[in-house]
Symmetry: C2
Subunit: 250 residues, 2 copies
């Protein structure tokens, strides 16, 4: 019988720059009554990773460009936020009215370069995405390995999509397991060969984790138990990021 | 402690036209050792819904249009399949090389109008999406209600996305619960009001379910236990389908 158990890890302290996330999560999981075990997948909300890595910006210290000023005035936005969004962007993918869909320098296509003003720990402060979410995931995986545990780690964030309303959590960084599971070349129960099917299990795990984390309550980490994965320390999120040359919607 | 348990329902028979899915799933869940209970969410792969509803087409009976013939010859595709894809489409969203991204008459944007040749129960046959997946979900919910159970139902399918490689399972029909959970107006632990956040929990539940269903093994139904939902018999998937006038990528 195939079954998954997903638990929100409660009781994490407010995360400050320099926090050892592996240690903090390990202790909180113990406290939640679900001590981590080999084979678990840990889904960590990017926000606490950003805070641990000091990826917050004081809006008062930002000098907006003339473009950021003009555009903000037109759409009643905070020019400092707009300036940060533009600095985090490699390109503007769509700009219509007050909406700014960008491609971040990592290669993520999302609203406002993933810059967030909620949960920032203070007003007048914005939280940026981690500089290298794969490296962030690896650090947590390494920290847990040092404690004797073989756990895959996904860094997640809440993104919008094309065509569909409502956001979902997706993976922006990964360590220990490949993000995509390909069925290509395998055969279905009727002998039909799969030609195109490759599932982004990393995004599905991130989505599943959101269901127990919620966005209002302070549960930034979820533990997924029962998902089979092949340990692979070369894994990154790169295979999920469609190359622009193959993308029909950028 | 917030926690979810997701179980793949095994032992379903091959589904044929006219099958009573509620009865079949009820029996299989019993057999899997997880009898359904009030408050469960059932995620049902569209394929078995289509089969139960007779939404399969014999390719030999299809007369492709001149356009379908010409385009198929150019890209080495089956003209009957291309003809079916076009018949299921309201509009072609992108057409580049052999890739055909369409908007189905339901309003789903996906590859090949969701027409599938795998798992069709026979070669030379294609499976179409259910005519009205919300109605399909409602029928299953009603069947379970007749057995004394209050269970929400999601019909899922495997779709590609813009910008990201790898497919994920998403919701194409729903009954009993709203597909989107809005945080707008709520306040985070730091007193910051959410201005835009609305989570598509239906898609997250579908994605979570895929992790236990898999595409190769014959596990077309998953049961999610522990997800809190508000019963609402007016629910449909409509709020998830972004109106074309608001869509920057269509």
């Amino acid at each position: 019988m195939s079954s998954l158990h997903i638990t929100g890890i409660e009781g994490l302290p407010e995360i400050t720059p320099g926090a050892d996330l592996a240690a903090v999560i390990l202790a909180a999981a113990e406290g939640t009554g679900v001590p981590l075990a080999d084979g678990d997948v840990l889904v960590v909300t990017s926000k606490i990773v950003s805070k641990a890595e000091g990826r917050t910006v004081e809006l008062a210290e930002i000098e907006p460009s003339p473009f950021a000023r003009e555009w903000s005035a037109k759409w009643d936005k905070d020019p400092a936020i707009v300036e940060i969004v533009l600095r985090e962007a490699k390109r503007i993918v769509r700009q219509l009215g007050p909406i700014l869909i960008t491609e971040t320098y990592h290669g993520f296509v999302c609203a406002n370069s993933g810059v967030d003003q909620s949960s920032s720990g203070a007003h007048g402060r914005a939280v940026l995405l981690p500089v290298d979410p794969d490296a962030s995931a690896r650090r947590i995986r390494e920290g847990l390995r040092a404690a004797g545990l073989d756990v895959a780690v996904i860094i997640s964030d809440t993104f919008g999509r094309a065509w569909r309303e409502g956001q979902t959590d997706i993976a922006i960084g990964i360590a220990g397991m490949q993000p995509i599971l390909s069925y290509i070349g395998q055969v279905d129960p009727h002998g039909h060969e799969f030609l195109v099917q490759a599932l982004c299990t990393a995004d599905e795990l991130a989505a599943a984790a959101e269901l127990v984390k919620g966005n209002v309550s302070r549960v930034p980490v979820a533990l997924v138990r029962g998902h089979a994965w092949e340990p692979d320390d070369t894994a990154t999120i790169a295979p999920v990021l469609r190359d622009q040359s193959k993308d029909l919607f950028r």
